[in-house]
């Protein structure tokens, strides 16, 4: 059974979330204080965390960082502000996605499901992709540089995989939003930009001069050239 950890100080909203999520056949752990999150998290590791940003005890951003230090579990932020600084701060702290209050129940469920879903591995493709000294293992969901395993969140893995599978293709941010996040008609490019930065900081030799995930100015991103690999 899927375990969702709901971190929100508003008891009523938390209860409502629990009703809805339980209705969808999920298990729910409710946490109302930021400083209690890690205890609960270690006792019963959830499959996904719904995290409010304004929390008593410990700020949501800090909580996000703590969880990330421990785990690659999907984190979806709940924020009352759509302001860029808040959103970007949360994404940079390690959240995979965010949803602005008030949201539609359907929208929330769609986001949660998108984050829980594994990108199906095409049977025709090989089980391993190599590029620029980085290998992507599609079965073990692992990314290695040499022998060293690089810890990526599921979302980062999916994003990297989407780019690496079609090395010649230039992906617009909107295309990536649709493919990786499952959004339609979204122009929220902040999500893509922040996650690309995070992937770069993990897999590039020099994140300021990326070789694997390249920016195509004015269009979007593409994977670094395969021929460059040694």
């Amino acid at each position: 059974m899927t375990l969702i950890m709901v971190v929100d100080d508003d008891q009523d909203l938390a209860e409502m979330l629990a009703i809805v999520l339980t209705g969808e056949g999920m298990e729910v752990d409710l946490v109302s204080r930021g400083d209690q999150v890690m205890d609960v998290f270690r006792n019963s590791p959830p499959d996904l965390v719904l995290l409010d940003l304004m929390l008593p005890g410990l700020d949501g951003i800090e909580v996000c960082k703590l969880i990330r230090a421990d785990s690659m579990v999907p984190i979806v932020m709940l924020t009352a502000k759509g302001d860029t600084t808040d959103v970007v701060k949360g994404l940079e702290a390690g959240a995979d996605d965010y949803i602005v209050k008030p949201f539609q129940t359907n929208e929330l469920l769609a986001r949660i499901k998108a984050r829980l879903r594994r990108v199906p591995t095409p049977s025709t493709a090989s089980s391993k992709l190599e590029f620029g000294g980085v290998s992507i293992d599609l079965i073990a969901h692992e990314v290695r540089r040499g022998e060293k395993v690089i810890a990526l969140t599921r979302l980062e893995f999916d994003l990297l995989l989407a780019l690496a599978r079609e090395p010649g293709r230039v992906f617009t941010r909107e295309a990536l939003l649709a493919e990786v996040w499952g959004y339609r008609h979204s122009s929220d490019t902040r999500l893509v930009n922040v996650h690309i930065q995070r992937i770069r900081s993990k897999i590039e030799r020099d994140p300021n001069q990326p070789e694997l995930v390249l920016t195509v100015r004015g269009v979007g991103y593409r994977a670094g050239n395969f021929t460059e690999q040694k």
Partner: protein, 515 residues
């Protein structure tokens, strides 16, 4: 610093001009007066001297009882020789004795001059004048010296001179004229010395004046330039700067009132900043405080709404209304908060290079379901190549959605035309519907907050009345504008135009506002 220079230079320039005019008038008048004086005194003394010499010569002839022609000639020669003698340093005038052309003296032509100066020195016109009266006459002319035998080419040497002529009656020999040619060289030298001195004096005076004016203007300009510098700093946002105030003169008063002004500005601005901070905080607090319960409300309402078929019809309908009104409430809240952000001036653009054609395409796709509900379709025209420009894609999308929902709401189910055009300096998106349209005067009012074309009209779409106003603010944030036009019963046209370079003024019009 340029300001200081220009002001000081302007004062210096004016001083230079005016003092030059004044001093040159003064100097030339002085020069004229002095040289006139010198010349007049010269004439006076020369006239006296000439008169006495004429008397002297006449007396000599009278006393000597010269009768013989040879004696006469000797006497004339002697007279000329005497006159030619120079006494001391003073230069004597050249003297010329000419014989009047009277019948008496027809056969006795004997004309002599000192230093053999040419007879041409005396003009015929002057001779006529001299002969016409007993009075002495004077004129200015030239002494023409004959070429000396030393000069290979016979060149006459000329010297400007004061020429005095008078009639002379020589006993037994009739009427002669005697001319005295005073070289004016010494006077000319004096006059030119005076002129030069005056010129030098005038220039020195002007220079000294300029120096004084410069010194004075420095005293005035330095505080003014300081004030200008501080004013520049103030406008750049540095309110800590103040002028130094010394003494109690006008400059000090300038400093005092300047500082007062700066202080008042500082207060005012910090008050406004404070107000804006409070506003921002308020917006943020309201946002958070209202949104969380609204989320719970919405989720609860969604849950009930999904199960409405299990309830009896009144409750089921209530669930529908609850859900719809909650959505409306949410939209209103979102837009109110956005409006208050605009009012507080706390909105920021997040520009990115964007393909406008693709962005419009996405907005159209997003609204297609609503359009279909209303029986409307979009007809989209855009340039073949991508329309790349730097905009905030989320705001741009919001503008388009607002324009499109508006067109759907008032388009009466007729197709809606959407077109992107690209100009040299701007990019425009036009949304044209063929529905209700706008009455005269409404094309500007549609952007007013909470304005509705017809208060009695049913609010079918539940619009907030803020959409177009927000869209206009979003457009203005991009340096652009939304313009509207319409005809009642024939639809309306909304054109969003944004400059390609946000810093530039919008001048280009890509759509004509006529339908």
């Amino acid at each position: 610093m340029r300001f200081v220079n220009s002001l000081a230079f302007r004062v210096l320039g004016t001083t230079l001009l005016l003092s030059t005019i004044l001093v040159s008038i003064l100097a030339s008048v002085l020069n004229q007066r002095l040289s006139d004086g010198i010349r007049e005194s010269k004439i006076e003394s020369a006239l006296n001297e000439s008169q006495s010499k004429i008397f002297q010569t006449e007396n000599r002839f009278t006393l000597a009882e010269v009768t013989a022609v040879s004696d006469f000639r000797d006497a004339i020669d002697r007279t000329i020789t005497e006159f030619a003698d120079t006494k001391g340093n003073e230069r004597n005038p050249e003297v010329m004795i000419l014989q009047a052309k009277s019948p008496q003296s027809r056969f006795l032509i004997y004309e002599r001059s000192t230093n053999q100066i040419s007879k041409g020195s005396i003009s015929e016109e002057f001779r006529t004048r001299v002969l016409a009266t007993r009075e002495l006459q004077f004129t200015y002319g030239e002494i023409l010296y004959p070429s000396t035998f030393l000069t290979p080419v016979p060149i006459e040497r000329a010297e400007s001179a004061l020429i005095i002529g008078g009639q002379m009656n020589l006993k037994n020999f009739g009427q002669f004229e005697m001319y005295f040619l005073y070289s004016t060289a010494p006077e000319d030298a004096t006059i030119s010395l005076i002129s030069r001195t005056l010129l030098v004096g005038a220039i020195a005076l002007v220079l000294v004046l300029l120096l004084i004016v410069w010194a004075v203007s420095r005293q005035v300009v330095t505080p003014i330039s300081r004030a200008a510098e501080i004013a520049e700093k103030l406008s750049a946002g540095d309110f800590a700067e103040r002028m130094q105030v010394e003494g109690a003169d006008e400059i000090a008063r300038l400093g005092l009132s300047f500082n007062e002004m700066a202080g008042a500005l500082q207060n005012q601005i910090s008050r406004l900043e404070n107000l804006s901070r409070v506003q921002q905080r308020f917006v943020s607090d309201v946002s958070h405080e209202l949104r969380t319960p609204l989320t719970t409300l919405k989720m609860a309402s969604d849950l009930i709404y999904r199960q409405r078929h299990e309830f009896d019809p009144t409750i089921s309908r209530s669930a529908e209304l609850l859900s719809a009104q909650l959505e409306r409430f949410e939209n209103l809240l979102t837009e109110l908060l956005e409006v208050s952000r605009f009012d507080a001036g706390v909105v920021n653009l997040e520009p990115e290079i964007t393909d406008i054609s693709a962005l419009v395409e996405r907005s159209l796709e997003a609204l297609t379901p609503i359009a279909e509900e209303n029986g409307t379709t979009f007809r989209y025209t855009h340039p073949a190549t991508p329309v790349m420009t730097v905009v905030d894609p989320r705001r741009m999308d919001r503008i388009l959605r607002n324009l499109l929902s508006n067109a759907i709401s008032y388009g009466e189910g007729k197709p809606i035309d959407v077109e992107v055009r690209v100009g040299e300096k701007s990019i425009a998106v036009a949304v044209r519907d063929y529905g209700i349209g706008l009455r005269k005067g409404e094309e500007t009012r549609v952007f007013d907050r909470f304005w509705r074309a017809d208060p009695s009209r049913e609010r079918t779409r539940g619009g907030t009345g803020l959409g177009l106003s927000i869209a206009q603010e979003d457009a203005q944030l991009h340096g652009g504008v939304i313009e509207a036009t319409g005809q009642y019963g024939r639809g309306s046209l909304f054109v969003l135009t944004i400059p390609r370079d946000r810093s530039e003024e919008l001048t280009e019009k890509l759509f004509s506002l006529t339908i």
